[in-house]
């Protein structure tokens, strides 16, 4: 059933899940690139949504349920951002320098996340309580991205970008957990190289992004189809 390459990798001691996830990464980043260039959803660059997707995947694998991966991932994501915002508002008054401020923020966010995991255990959500450290660390690191965006571009942009990151990560998560796609990649792993061609096309794409049709709605609404001179 599996491609010879995958069988070989597994026989050398690489876990099947690791092989599959690694092969999924090019697909995830291609989806993110597509969303940026064609749809116009920015999110926090390409690493953050890719990492968050893998955090979701890790949670899902551990809970052994795709929907729980999304559910718990979503909960941790929103908590981290919400607490990050609160802490930022409180810390603003103290006029601290950037790194110490982020350090305090990460401290408080990680403690809150821990509290949430324990609360999950108390509420019999054992899946939430047993989330491993890797996805939690990724989510906490999100705070730094969030805070620096808040400082540079304002709270509104930071919240928009976080929401976009969450949406893209969820889309990527559901795409790469789709059993048909997983089986397909396991059978034809070389198809992953096809993403390079897609990305070359995306990299040369100069058309308007879908979001820009809305952004420039006012122009298309009033402007005559150019006929001047």
């Amino acid at each position: 059933m599996y491609d010879g390459f995958i069988e070989f990798a597994v026989s050398q001691g690489v876990p099947l899940s690791t092989v599959t996830l690694t092969l999924m990464l090019p697909i995830v980043v291609t989806i993110i690139a597509f969303f940026r260039q064609v749809i116009g959803i920015k999110a926090f660059g390409i690493y953050t949504p890719a990492l968050v997707t893998f955090a979701f995947l890790a949670i899902g694998l551990e809970a052994d349920s795709i929907s729980k991966g999304a559910q718990y991932g979503f909960t941790i994501f929103v908590t981290v951002i919400a607490i990050g915002t609160l802490v930022r508002i409180v810390l603003k008054k103290f006029r601290l320098l950037y790194l110490p401020r982020v350090a305090i923020m990460i401290t408080i966010v990680s403690l809150s996340t821990l509290a949430m995991l324990i609360a999950g255990g108390l509420l019999q959500r054992t899946g939430l309580a047993s989330v491993s450290i890797f996805p939690i660390l990724i989510m906490i690191m999100l705070v730094e991205k969030f805070v620096s965006t808040q400082i540079e571009k304002g709270a509104r942009t930071a919240i928009i970008l976080s929401t976009e990151t969450l949406i893209i990560s969820l889309i990527c998560y559901f795409s790469v957990s789709w059993s048909v796609l997983v089986a397909f990649i396991q059978t034809y792993p070389w198809i992953v190289l096809f993403t390079i061609i897609i990305n070359i096309i995306l990299g040369k794409w100069t058309g308007l992004r879908l979001s820009e049709y809305f952004r420039f709605k006012e122009i298309t609404k009033y402007a005559e189809p150019s006929h001047k001179k």
């Binding site: 006029r95 320098l97 950037y98 571009k153 308007l208 992004r209 952004r215 420039f216 122009i219 402007a223």
Partner: protein, 469 residues
């Protein structure tokens, strides 16, 4: 959907901006110059472009410790050198009385020396720079708000963004700080972007948060029709700055100081796209039109910009209404009695109902006999009482209508200079290429500046724009 696609053909999107314009035309050294505010200021100043005066700079913590804040003037601007998007800028307007080294910001909040020091430390740490690289801070002269802009501006200083490509200014907008933008002219944070007609420097349409608005928020103050002073100079500065900076696709930011006039604020290597909404026109269409043109002088570049991208307001309205736009004084063509074309200037008077022409002009276009005959008639039998106008006209026409050649009617005109009975004749004239058949009354206008005034009756096909010349 198809119509949406054709309409959006001229819009410049992020992808095209980056790939087709910024990448090939803004090369690394030029981009680095643009990002380094102090160096770009120096380069601009050296080539004779006015920039805000530098007051002081702090490049390290050591320099910060030794910096004499008491030496700062009453008003200044503190900026991060590698800052972008207007972040990290502190503007103070005056010193607080009786307190040492304390200044007041636009929102009346107080900034003490310690606050400035913390802010400078944040700047040095790179909190406001691209990629958070270590930065340095500098102080510069604060631009004084122009009286003209005062009612439109919430705190802050408005500036003018001009996009220059291939030496030609292609599009411009006026950016007005608002309450929402916290006194910065950043259009992403709620500043108002006002489109500018390239030919005249008059504002056209405006947007806030990418939506069209007509008035200054909370005020009945129209955003269109503002005449930007020094327009020609501003365009020339923008073209010059492109030459100096080496940025092929440049966003030039120019403010107007109350005393110094246009002052160059910044060169921008990645100018935003919101300018298109403000002008309700796409950049891509304009960029394509100037691509490959060979431009020799600044004056030529400005002239091309003005003729290519100007007059959009008028054409737009003319297209929609089907009416021609005329000014307060227009050139009128007549045919004289020898069938020769000649031109006079007429005043457009929307306060008058009908059109009047001077006796001499009437004679020239062939009504000499009519006028002579009319002058023979003794009009003393008529008493001009308001309300009797029509009765008098009817009576006159009954008595003399047939006897006077080419007479169409008679008109009783009550005006501030006295009332009179005037002969009315039918004539044809051409205004702004539009043929007008009119019944005009004849009166001696030899002591007036214009031999003709055109009243409402003949203005139905026109819109009057008083600022048009």
């Amino acid at each position: 959907m198809l119509s949406l696609l054709t309409k959006s053909r001229n819009i410049l999107g992020m992808n095209a901006r980056n790939l087709k314009y910024i990448r090939p035309y803004n090369l690394k050294p030029a981009k680095r110059l643009a990002d380094d505010k102090m160096r770009s200021k120096r380069v601009l100043r050296k080539s004779g472009i006015p920039v805000p005066k530098l007051i002081g700079k702090i490049r390290s913590r050591g320099e910060l410790d030794n910096f004499d804040f008491a030496s700062l003037p009453n008003s200044f601007v503190l900026k991060p050198n590698y800052g972008f998007g207007g972040e990290g800028i502190v503007i103070v307007y005056g010193r607080k009385k009786k307190v040492n080294n304390t200044w007041i910001k636009a929102d009346r909040s107080v900034v003490a020396e310690d606050d400035l020091k913390t802010h400078v430390r944040n700047i040095l740490d790179g909190s406001f720079s691209r990629m958070n690289i270590p930065d340095f801070a500098f102080f510069e002269e604060r631009i004084q708000l122009l009286k003209l802009f005062k009612p439109y501006t919430f705190k802050g200083i408005p500036d003018i963004r001009v996009i220059v490509f291939n030496k030609i200014p292609v599009m411009a907008m006026l950016r007005l700080p608002t309450e929402a933008s916290g006194g910065t002219s950043n259009v992403h944070n709620g500043g108002i972007a006002v489109g500018i007609d390239m030919a005249t420097g008059v504002t056209t349409s405006a947007t806030q948060y990418n939506r069209v608005i007509e008035y200054v928020p909370k005020k009945r103050l129209l955003l269109s029709g503002i005449k930007i002073p020094f327009w020609q100079d501003i365009l020339e500065l923008a073209v010059k700055a492109q030459d100096v900076s080496g940025l092929g696709y440049l966003g030039a930011d120019i403010a107007i100081d109350r005393e110094r006039g246009p002052v160059f604020m910044e060169i921008n290597a990645r100018p935003g796209l919101a300018i298109q909404n403000a002008n309700q026109d796409g950049l891509l269409g304009r960029l394509k039109r100037v691509e490959g043109l060979k431009i020799k002088t600044t004056a030529r570049a400005v002239a091309i910009a003005q003729s290519l991208f100007g007059g959009e307001i008028e054409e737009g309205i003319e297209d929609i209404s089907g009416k021609k736009i005329i000014g307060a004084v227009e050139k009128i063509k007549f045919i004289d009695k020898n069938k020769k074309e000649f031109e006079i200037e007429a005043k457009i008077d929307t306060g008058a109902y009908s059109t009047s022409i001077d006796t001499e002009l009437a004679k020239r276009i062939g009504f000499e006999k009519t006028i002579d005959d009319f002058n023979q008639i003794n009009l003393s039998e008529y008493k001009f009482i308001p309300g009797d106008g029509e009765k008098i006209e009817a009576d006159f026409m009954e008595k003399y209508g047939k006897k006077l050649k080419k007479l169409e009617n008679a008109a009783v005109v009550f005006s501030s200079s006295g009332s009179s009975l005037r002969p009315v004749v039918k004539t044809v004239f051409v205004m702004d290429k539009e043929k007008v058949v009119s019944r005009v009354n004849i009166i001696d206008r030899s002591d007036l500046k214009y031999p003709m005034i055109i009243g409402r009756k003949d203005l139905k096909k026109f819109l009057v724009e008083v600022s048009k010349k």
